[in-house]
């Protein structure tokens, strides 16, 4: 009887080539998690003695670690080859046990999450049935309570960060012993990753930043800290939190010049805290920050599709052309040569919009002097990847038509503007934006 489980595990690991985690095993065989852990351990010992085909294992290590002068409790899943190394770094080891056994050497931890996903989804109501973590006060909230709490969360998006960090401190301590069976996977993840987040956000803070005002530090925390909060309030609040985070991020990016550092710092924290990072929102925040720096003169807005035309006093002389749809640049044969920039190709399947863009025009006035004027011209553009080509073409066309050197600055500024504004259409953060802005 006792030896049957060895055969079971053997079947899963070798024949089905599955990753057997202790959680999955306990749910599948209907045993307590501690029993499952021991089963895996014995299986591993057994197989290693028999020198059968190579098996790999991952371990869960939890203990106290001294990190930059602060003691923190760290819980990590490590591969077998990194186990001893990791253990030696810890000052006190609270627990070590087998997390999973599999045939393949895993390159990253993604599959470990996937393995348990379906098993837990099927047992959502009682996934902690076999768990060793208990808290009498941890009872799923009723629907009404949940709604109330969600409304409170949404109403003040920029709630005082100090309060938040204080709450988070308590939340962290509270979330460890408590288990929320309703939250299922998220709950499982919060318990493990909440202490990890604390470490990571602490690592983010002391990172050297040239001008790092004190309020920045607690502000980075709520971005990373939303995870324990979210876990109390369910997964629904994660979405309103994310745009809020990004908004805060964007605003702070303007305040300090640390955009690049910030995004790289946020990324490791964000990747650690939840296995779900949406790359779209991340690249969007990068793009926003880039274009923010480029458009320092303009009003800072989150969506820049439509620009408010600013009044220009010298407008009367020059009649702005509404540009045609084809990509052309024609120096006018008239006495007042005007250069008009057209930035985008027309292509039937893509969306077209009109917007006002700051453009500069050089022309000869009555006295024969060359005058450059900046003006808002409405032009149509389409949201496409053609933005790339068009930004390359626009500066080229400009160079062809402009005769003087005095207008070179304006030239570059318009290049900057058109490249910055057209970048908004492209889906990926463009590297060209770096090269063209001056």
């Amino acid at each position: 009887m006792d030896e049957l489980y060895l055969d079971n595990i053997d079947e899963y690991v070798n024949d089905h080539n599955k990753i057997v985690t202790y959680k999955w095993l306990s749910l599948t065989l209907g045993v307590h998690v501690n029993t499952a852990k021991q089963m895996l351990y014995h299986y591993l010992e057994h197989k290693r003695k028999e020198s059968s085909p190579q098996l790999h294992a991952t371990y869960l290590v939890s203990g106290k670690l001294e990190d930059k002068g602060q003691m923190c409790h760290k819980v990590s899943v490590v591969r077998e080859d990194q186990l001893e190394d990791f253990k030696s770094k810890m000052s006190l080891i609270v627990s070590v046990h087998v997390y999973s056994v599999q045939k393949a050497l895993l390159k990253d931890s993604g599959p470990l999450y996937s393995v348990d996903y379906d098993a837990i989804k099927d047992n959502l109501k009682n996934c902690s049935r076999y768990s060793a973590i208990r808290c009498a006060g941890a009872v799923p909230m009723s629907a009404a309570e949940l709604q109330q709490v969600q409304e409170i969360q949404r109403a003040p998006p920029s709630a005082p960060e100090n309060k938040k960090s204080a709450m988070n401190g308590d939340a962290n301590i509270a979330s460890k012993p408590s288990s929320k069976p309703q939250k299922g996977i998220m709950g499982m993840f919060a318990n493990k990753s909440a202490p990890k987040n604390q470490d990571n956000s602490k690592e983010v803070k002391p990172e050297p930043k040239e001008k790092s005002p004190v309020p920045e530090a607690p502000k980075t925390k709520p971005a990373a800290k939303s995870s324990p909060m979210a876990n109390f309030f369910g997964t629904q609040t994660k979405k309103p939190e994310k745009p809020v985070e990004k908004q805060q991020e964007a605003q702070l990016a303007i305040a300090s010049e640390q955009q690049h550092q910030r995004t790289t710092a946020e990324e490791p924290a964000a990747v650690q805290l939840h296995k779900e990072t949406k790359a779209d929102s991340r690249s969007k925040s990068k793009r926003m920050e880039e274009s923010d720096s480029e458009e320092e003169k303009m009003e800072k807005k989150k969506r820049r599709r439509i620009k408010k035309p600013q009044p220009d006093s010298s407008d009367e002389d020059v009649i702005p052309d509404s540009p045609p749809q084809m990509k052309t640049s024609e120096p006018s044969p008239k006495k007042e040569p005007e250069t008009v920039q057209h930035s985008h190709t027309s292509s039937g399947t893509k969306i077209r919009r009109r917007r006002k863009v700051l453009k500069s025009r050089t022309f000869k006035d009555e006295e024969g002097c060359i005058v450059t004027e900046k003006d808002y011209v409405s032009e149509s553009y389409s949201e496409t990847e053609d933005d790339f080509q068009s930004t390359k073409q626009a500066p080229r066309n400009n160079n062809k038509a402009k005769p003087t050197s005095s207008s070179k600055d304006d030239d570059k500024k318009t290049q900057k503007k058109s490249s910055a504004s057209s970048n908004k259409g492209s889906k990926q953060a463009s590297i060209m934006g770096f090269f063209q802005k001056k």
């Binding site: 599999q102 393949a104 050497l105 379906d118």
Partner: protein
């Protein structure tokens, strides 16, 4: 319960969309797991509620997207029999082949709510299997590259050559060297049958890789 006959075109599009999304994720994952490209270009993203590795390199992404864009009309009309991701060594001889066999299930129907989550679950299982496939495969030699071949039914390829679905992205008939593999070993990975699609994934690898 909508039947197939009335909404043929929409149905084909839905299936093709789902499959192409899945194939994109699968191709990225294969490139990651088989180490065709250095793991530094990959980034963790979420699909079907689980973490997957996708590449950040814009040209690679564009290439894969264009490839699947062209494959989509074939799947819509049920002309694509197999989509094969071939990994080739430096001399352009195939070393490994990941074959996705796609066919229409015997009972084709779109019924309701649980369909998509059921399909999602099955696709998740595929993703998981690809992640652990290197347990059953030998290591590839260094300097590999990859390509995508599509085996179609009947004469669908003639249409493809006539009509360029994407400009400057021509599809040509694969030559013998790229298709033929010496002494292939077959390793089945996963198969699934759902209401909208039947798919099988297996790997053929060359007996001697280096």
């Amino acid at each position: 319960m909508t039947t197939l006959t009335r909404q043929d075109l929409n149905f084909g599009q839905v299936v093709a969309d789902i499959l192409c999304e899945f194939l994109e994720v699968a191709i990225h994952l294969i490139l990651y797991v088989r180490e065709v490209y250095p793991s530094g270009i990959f980034q963790k993203r979420k699909k079907y509620n689980v973490p997957v590795q996708m590449s950040c390199h814009p040209e690679l992404n564009q290439y894969i997207q264009d490839t699947l864009h062209c494959v989509k009309p074939l799947i819509e009309k049920n002309d694509a029999e197999k989509v094969v991701v071939v990994i080739m060594d430096k001399e352009h001889h195939p070393v490994e082949r990941f074959v996705f066999e796609i066919s229409q299930p015997p009972l084709l129907s779109i019924s309701s709510d649980t369909l998509l989550s059921h399909v999602e679950q099955l696709l998740r299982a595929f993703i998981l299997k690809i992640s652990v496939c290197d347990a059953v495969l030998n290591n590839n030699p260094p300097g590999c590259s990859f390509t995508v071949l599509v085996h179609t039914r009947d004469a669908a390829t003639r249409n493809m050559e006539k009509v360029q679905v994407i400009k400057d992205f021509p599809w040509i008939v694969a030559d013998e060297q790229e298709v033929h593999m010496k002494e292939p070993r077959l390793i089945p990975l996963k198969s699934m049958t759902s209401d909208i699609v039947k798919m099988q994934l297996y790997v053929e690898e060359r007996a001697q890789k280096t």
